[in-house]
């Protein structure tokens, strides 16, 4: 059941749901197939705290029939949830290392569960750094969390926007410009990157240029999804079925595939 609908920006909304049958335990990075009665389904990342599976949040941008319908839901409505599907962010591999999280736009949503979990288990990690890029100040999501994390000593938060006018006192420039300048130990770091594919490519390159080993950079990929369980063929990227083999991948596995046009 939909418990609340929070409009984050002019076109991004977070839908909080209480599963009716039982809580749906998930790991950071996984997604659900969300069904709107009579309209259809969409694959949506879970953006809530994994420690509270009784209340799931799904953050979406309204671009198609289903997501537009989701955008118009009211609290009390029923939606269908299948999942969780996919693999998860490799937080275990970052144990004892610096954790660098780079989020572009709505990409902050799929990494939010990882941030929340990492902060809860703070002592497992070295320095935790969050780099957030958005198109403009208006397009920043989870602003309450960003404000809170700014004052949290356990995490360094850096925000930049692509486009702003005078009056914005923060950074201007694409998020990759933050990578060379924020403090962390690249050789002993694990990076999780989420955002538009172009942004993830440039960010992975910037991280590797700084000395982060390629296999320590992880991205999350998105294609057309229908079944979520590897039988409909839609989410193929070369040899990979994103729903089954991903959506989180270490960079070396996907870099050559993303370099082929229209693959």
């Amino acid at each position: 059941m939909v418990s609340s609908v929070r409009h984050q920006t002019h076109d991004i909304v977070t839908i909080d749901v209480r599963p009716e049958q039982h809580p749906i335990a998930f790991k950071p990075g996984q997604f659900d197939m969300v069904y709107v009665y009579g309209v259809g389904e969409a694959a949506i990342s879970i953006s809530s705290d994994p420690a509270t599976p009784g209340l799931l949040s799904h953050t979406i941008r309204a671009v198609g029939w289903v997501t537009k319908a989701l955008n118009e839901l009211q609290p009390g409505a029923t939606i269908g949830i299948r999942g969780p599907y996919g693999n998860s962010w490799p937080l275990d591999s970052a144990q004892g290392k610096d954790l660098v999280i780079v989020a572009g736009g709505i990409g902050l949503a799929p990494v939010r569960p990882a941030i929340v979990q990492a902060l809860r288990e703070r002592e497992r990690f070295g320095r935790i750094t969050l780099l957030v890029g958005a198109r403009s100040p208006r397009d920043l999501v989870f602003r309450d969390d960003l404000d809170r994390w700014h004052t949290d000593r356990g995490i360094d938060v850096h925000i930049t926007v692509d486009s702003a006018v005078r009056g914005w006192g923060g950074r201007v420039g694409v998020v990759t410009t933050l990578v060379p300048r924020v403090p962390f130990d690249p050789e002993n770091a694990v990076a999780i990157v989420c955002g538009p594919e172009v942004m993830m490519r440039f960010t992975a390159e910037a991280l590797m240029k700084r000395g982060v080993p390629a296999e320590s950079v992880h991205v999350t990929l998105e294609r057309n999804m229908k079944c979520g369980v590897g039988t409909c063929g839609h989410c193929q990227l070369g040899p990979l079925l994103l729903c089954r083999d991903g959506p989180v991948f270490p960079w070396p596995e996907v870099a050559p595939l993303l370099a082929v046009r229209e693959l």
Binding site: Y37, G40, E41, V63, R223, C227, R244, V260
Partner: protein, 401 residues
């Protein structure tokens, strides 16, 4: 669909033509719907068989790129053709399949109603080795993947598979190249096929028939399962003579040497994935209409989409699963547009998936060498010729991975 093992009693027999007719009767008496080849609309398609009369007696087929025609043979062979455009896939994996429905409870709430998926009792008579191989390929996708597809499993549950080995391959056949035919050897274990080849359907067969036309018109019959052995016993079939076994060898040898086409599978995976930028894809794109015929007739293509409907009052919503094709523009729609918008990219996706990345995803080739895509392509694009051209003019010996 049980694997063959050493069976007590009858496992190799010879059937007369009349006994074949009795087989159909026995199956129907057991409650099976018997589906097999019949002539309709100028081609050989699966239809319900009530007796021998439905079979394409004395008919053969001529297939070439973009061409399919029925011909008349100068004998009474019942299975004297290669393969028609459809096969078991249409029954085991229907083009439109209801999944579930939802009923509105008012106030923007609803509950789900699960669909009951029944197991229809079907006996397929006359499946070619390539068709059995295709079932083996689809079993890997639907039964042995991340999740078992319960709809497919229900359809597979109560079926009998009776194969007829190939005596007359067509001009587009290349099952020998893919390791799937023209015969079915039942003594093999359930092993993975050689690299680059498709799995044999041998372990799926309940009964394997070979039509013998030298001298008396008869069928060699070998049981691949308990069910198959039981059927042979019920027919009171006579044990096979050595001459019948030898005749089978002859039929298969002739068939293997008269394959219409060939596909070299060694290193094919790396070859194709190392040539994703090859100009040949542009050449194909100029001919390809993206009509999706190949995906419709291919016995292994499995891509589907879902359709959601409501009735007029909105009180019930339902969801169907429908065959889809990677050739459609919407197939790869993600973000603001389709990832594969050019015909080049879409044909490349189909061919490299079928022959290369299928191996990464499911462990075997996706192609069983039936040649349907070649015959039923309106412009006659030949997957074996395209692979050979790319092999001959390979631009990058290194793999892109």
């Amino acid at each position: 669909m049980r694997t063959g093992r050493a069976l007590p009693g009858l496992d190799t027999a010879t059937l007369s033509v009349d006994q074949l007719g009795e087989l159909i009767d026995v199956l129907r008496d057991d409650g099976y719907r018997v589906l097999g080849p019949t002539v309709r609309d100028g081609s050989i398609v699966h239809g319900e068989l009530h007796g021998l009369d439905g079979l394409p007696r004395g008919r053969g087929d001529e297939q070439q790129p973009g061409t399919y025609r029925l011909s008349s043979r100068d004998d009474d062979a019942l299975f004297g053709y290669a393969v028609g455009p459809d096969g078991a896939k249409r029954s085991l994996f229907p083009p439109r399949q209801p999944l579930w429905s939802a009923v509105s409870d008012g106030d923007a709430t609803f509950h789900l109603v699960e669909e009951e998926h029944q197991s229809p009792r079907v006996a397929f008579l006359g499946l070619r080795p390539c068709e059995l191989a295709a079932i083996a390929v689809q079993d890997r996708v639907f039964l042995h993947g991340l999740a078992e597809d319960e709809v497919y499993a229900a359809h597979r549950d109560d079926v009998l598979l009776i194969a007829v080995e190939c005596g007359a391959p067509s001009g587009v056949c290349f099952c020998a190249s893919m390791g799937t035919g023209p015969g079915l050897e039942l003594d093999g274990g359930v092993a993975d096929p050689e690299p680059g080849k498709a799995p044999t359907g041998a372990q799926l067969a309940d009964l394997v028939l070979t039509e013998l036309l030298d001298g008396e018109h008869r069928f060699l019959a070998r049981a691949g399962s308990d069910e198959g052995a039981r059927l042979l016993a019920a027919l009171e079939a006579r044990p096979a003579a050595d001459g019948d076994l030898a005749a089978r060898e002859q039929v298969l040898a002739t068939a293997a040497s008269s394959m219409g086409r060939e596909l070299r599978t060694e290193d094919l995976h790396d070859l194709l994935l190392g040539n994703l930028g090859h100009p040949r894809w542009d050449d194909i794109a100029e001919r390809c209409l993206a009509c999706a015929n190949c995906t419709l007739v291919c016995p292994t293509c499995f891509c589907t989409t879902v359709e959601d409907h409501t009735d007029l009052t909105g009180s019930t919503a339902s969801r169907d699963r429908r065959w889809d094709s990677c050739f459609s523009l919407e197939f790869s729609h993600a973000g603001p547009g389709s990832v594969r918008s050019s015909t080049n990219a879409r044909y490349r996706q189909w061919m490299t998936h079928k022959l290369a990345t299928w191996i990464d995803q499911f462990g075997t080739s996706g192609c069983v060498g039936c040649g349907r895509c070649i015959a039923w392509c309106p412009v006659g694009i030949d997957i074996t010729a395209e692979a050979a051209t790319i092999r001959r003019t390979s631009q990058d010996p290194e793999v892109t991975r």
